[in-house]
Symmetry: C2
Subunit: 125 residues, 2 copies
DNA sequence: ATACTATGTTAGGAAACCTTACATGGTTGG
DNA sequence: CCAACCATGTAAGGTTTCCTAACATAGTAT
């Protein structure tokens, strides 16, 4: 059974995700409104998050703390998903994207080496 | 951050554990009454389970389906924790214990090889 | 035949979560 | 400088999920 499935399986409730990410419920719902995450829903309409969702939230948090705004973050995510999208007003230059990706890679490397880092989900599961 | 911590971190709510284990809430609470698991509690008194708890529950389920009763399962778990416990009425013979352990080992091996097996938690996370 | 074991079910209450709406400090463009 | 907007806080009212406690029951063991 693939790692993909494990990471997309909705296992976590709102309160746990709040603890894991140190975000408020309001913030998490707001990011969902902007389609940056799409948590699963139970029959009773409760959100259930996957580990991937948590990762995404930590990424969003990081970008926001770096001063990026939602609009830019949305474009960033859109482009990461489909780097050759043809929408006209995708005004996030390729060089900007590459810049960000490069930083992510460097961060990932650092995570391999040092032990604990903010945003390192492996603390939790 | 150690695997140990990841696996003991209370992340999962009752409903999710019910799905993962295919046990009823009643059953899960009953096994807790017998101290086979000790889920964490939130401030509001809700149970929060770790991945280890889920493993334990699947193990219990397996033993029960094999016809073992709670009393025996309790002794089995006690002895697995402390194989040299000195309580008098620990009437689970060493050979019985070794027998069970051997089967577990064989099962674990099979899990390495074949893909999906009941009791294989890796389906989920 | 009786007692026990493991589980189901029900009731009443509390915690956690939901959506919607309004409030607000910080930033931004005119 | 001010109006608009952005990201977030907060409050209200309602629903879902979970809690404990108690009683019911089919199957098993004594």
């Amino acid at each position: 059974m693939s790692r993909e499935i494990r990471r997309t399986m909705p296992l976590l409730s709102m309160s746990i995700v709040m603890q894991l990410t140190e975000l408020s419920a309001r913030q998490i719902r707001y990011y969902e409104e902007h389609h940056l995450i799409e948590p699963h829903r139970t029959e009773g309409n409760r959100r259930m998050f996957s580990l991937n969702d948590v990762d995404t939230l930590l990424e969003i948090k990081d970008y926001l703390e770096q001063g990026m705004n939602m609009a830019k973050i949305k474009k960033l995510f859109a482009k990461k998903k489909d780097p050759v999208a043809t929408t006209e007003d995708q005004n996030l230059s390729d060089s900007e994207l590459r810049q960000i990706m490069r930083e992510e890679m460097r961060q990932a490397q650092r995570m391999q080496k040092s032990s604990i880092r903010r945003g390192d989900l492996s603390r939790f599961y």
